[in-house]
């Protein structure tokens, strides 16, 4: 029945964490589509970094705590989530509500794990693990050259009435993501991707908006997520940078360590 719910909610939390993005200034060279030629994908991505505040401003951010709400209005559900992230790729998220209990997900070193009251503890493997490691890299869309091996602009499409460059972002492994950057502002407007879970691969569309300057960088405070025909609205409530993280927040939980130990014959 609502078994897809838990999975989708956890996807939403991850997506929101990953999609904290930023702004900046001008379009680099004379590569505008008005001249008939498309700019290179690399220049579009670099422009996004610039308009988001620039690589130096992002370099000053070591960690981030984001609190958000996830609302599925049609289904009458609202959840609260908190995401702890730190460079270069430490990650812990918690989504909680009486409707689903508690779902925690984390990346501790190279271990990707999940603890869900409903489905139990698990250590992620295969595509799901690889995807989580890629997606939880800190400020991935800023340090995009580390996350993607290529960025190719394939055209201009209207997203919500606004002209956007369509950029195919290809990671070292896994399916390409399609990014849409606004032609005029340079901001990232939409991401189309495939989400991998232990249950299977699911297409997802994330629309970003409500960019706000936050500690010297531009961050999207609103993400509309379309997944399996459901719409969910993710609103950021607060963002804190360079904070004292709770002790042990990125550590492996005991039951996850026990699963790993059993797996290794310990």
């Amino acid at each position: 029945m609502r078994d897809g719910l838990k999975k989708l909610l956890s996807f939403a939390a991850v997506s929101a964490a990953v999609l904290s993005v930023l702004p900046g200034p001008v379009f680099p060279s004379g590569a505008d589509a008005a001249g008939g030629e498309l700019p290179s994908g690399e220049s579009i991505c670099d422009r996004f970094v610039e308009v988001s505040g620039g690589i130096e401003a992002f370099g000053l951010i070591r960690n981030r705590v984001t609190k958000m709400t996830i609302e599925m209005a049609a289904q009458g559900l609202k959840l609260e989530a908190t995401v702890y992230a730190a460079a270069p790729g430490r990650f812990y998220s918690i989504v909680e509500s009486p409707a689903i209990g508690r779902i925690e997900r984390g990346v501790s070193g190279d271990v990707v794990w999940e603890r869900s009251l409903m489905t139990g503890p698990s250590v992620k493997e295969g595509e799901e693990r690889a995807m989580m490691l890629r997606e939880t890299a800190f400020d991935r869309n800023i340090h995009w050259r580390k996350a993607f091996k290529s960025a190719e602009c394939t055209g201009i499409e209207k997203i919500g009435g606004t002209d956007c460059y369509r950029v195919v972002m290809t990671p070292a492994e896994g399916e390409p993501h399609i990014h849409f950057y606004e032609k005029e502002s340079g901001l990232l407007a939409r991401v189309e991707s495939i989400v991998h879970s232990s249950m299977g691969a699911i297409p997802q569309v994330s629309s970003l908006g409500d960019y706000r300057e936050t500690d010297g960088v531009l961050v999207s405070w609103s993400v509309a997520l379309e997944i399996m025909g459901q719409h969910r609205s993710i609103k950021t409530v607060s963002i804190e940078h360079n904070v004292e993280m709770p002790e042990g927040i990125f550590d492996l939980p005991e039951d996850i360590a026990a699963i790993l130990s059993a797996k290794q014959g310990g």
Partner: protein
């Protein structure tokens, strides 16, 4: 009366069953004893003829209400059009039904009639979990105040003992209180019963606690008789206590966009003893998925009566007129590739009295206990 089933009998049933007929036959009067299941499955009667059933004196619809009803029928039609798992709509020419039912809706003079038209439209698909829910039944609906707590009444003759959770609300559904019971049968067997898969904080905490206390027992009995189902993710969490290998699946949910495998996460200290599952004709939805998954992965032996055969993924959305629409979005396919919808789970050991054990006697439970203790005959 007891009968042991073989794989052949299961296959024979598969080949001969008409989904629609089985469903109709099995939605008989006794089903509606289970009030909570009725919340999910039977708010509005499906009407072949949508008019003429309005109670005398029912208030006439205003022009605004008629517009809202039109918008609601449009939402119902388009939601099915975009999200019903079968793009062939089970043989129904879905594109054609919208205009016809919209014309009927324009003739509706009361809310009863309007709901009847929408119900008639979705009933063409002939599946469970597809219902128009009057606003008065919804959590936070348009009625005066919140709806009352839905009591989950145990089937007659079963043990009503157990701990009751508090009112739990999931989205637009009315509040439900889960009943959970766990106890030992002598010193060698653990027994767990609950009446729906809702309120995960209450239910999973107790289920996990019970399983931790039963780890050293010879066997465990999970009693799903009268269980109305609910949040299917809990099926994976519970079955993880009995998983012997990573990657085992309790089946697949097929939606328009994806196939979702119900993969188990084995618990760090899983239970390795015998597992018996009790079912009956009031075992519904997620409870059927759990029984089918454990049966077809060879992990459990199933005792009792054939289940309801209403195993689909659905969700409840709010319509512009304030009513709810429970819409099917996925079909459950068991590990061996069977659709349980309209068919049900056929127990390994069928017991005719499973629906209502006589006072002082519970043949299904007794058979399960005897099988667990007779450990030499069958490894499952």
């Amino acid at each position: 009366m007891r009968r042991e089933n073989s794989g052949e009998s299961v296959k024979a049933f598969d080949a001969g069953a008409s989904v629609r007929n089985v469903r109709t036959e099995r939605r008989g009067g006794s089903f509606f004893r289970c009030a909570a299941a009725a919340v999910l499955l039977a708010f509005a009667p499906a009407c072949g003829a949508p008019f003429g059933s309005a109670p005398a004196g029912a208030p006439a619809l205003s022009a605004e209400q008629k517009e809202l009803n039109r918008a609601s029928l449009e939402m119902v039609w388009s939601t099915v059009n975009e999200r019903f798992w079968d793009p062939e709509f089970r043989g129904v020419e879905w594109a054609a039904v919208r205009e016809k039912h919209m014309a009927w809706l324009d003739r509706a003079s009361t809310m009863e009639e309007a709901r009847g038209v929408m119900s008639a439209m979705i009933d063409l698909l002939g599946v469970s979990h597809m219902t128009i829910i009057p606003s008065a039944f919804l959590n936070g609906g348009l009625n005066d105040g919140a709806p009352g707590l839905v009591e989950t009444a145990p089937p007659e003759g079963t043990n009503p003992a157990g701990e009751h959770g508090s009112a739990f609300v999931l989205g637009h559904l009315p509040p439900v209180a889960v009943t959970f019971e766990s106890r030992g049968i002598d010193d060698d067997i653990g027994y767990i019963r609950f009446d729906c898969f809702m309120d995960p904080v209450f239910l999973m905490t107790r289920f996990n606690g019970a399983m931790e206390s039963f780890l050293e027992r010879e066997g465990v009995v999970i009693d799903l008789r009268g269980n109305m189902g609910g949040v299917g993710a809990m099926v994976m969490g519970m079955a993880g206590w009995f998983a012997v290998e990573k990657g085992a699946s309790m089946g697949t949910i097929v939606t328009r966009e994806a196939r979702l495998d119900l993969i188990l996460n084995p618990r760090p200290s899983a239970f390795g003893g015998r597992l018996a599952v009790l079912v009956d004709s009031l075992t519904v939805s997620s409870a059927e998925m759990m029984a089918a998954g454990l049966q077809e992965t060879g992990r459990a032996r199933i005792f009792g009566g054939r289940t309801m055969g209403m195993a689909l993924q659905s969700e409840v959305i709010l319509l512009p007129n304030g009513d709810g629409f429970q819409c099917v979005t996925g079909n459950y396919i068991s590990p061996l590739g069977r659709s349980i919808e309209g068919r049900g789970v056929i127990p390994d050991v069928e017991i005719a009295s499973a629906d209502g054990a006589g006072a002082g006697s519970d043949e299904a439970l007794e058979a399960a206990v005897a099988w667990i203790r007779d450990g030499d005959n069958d490894n499952r």
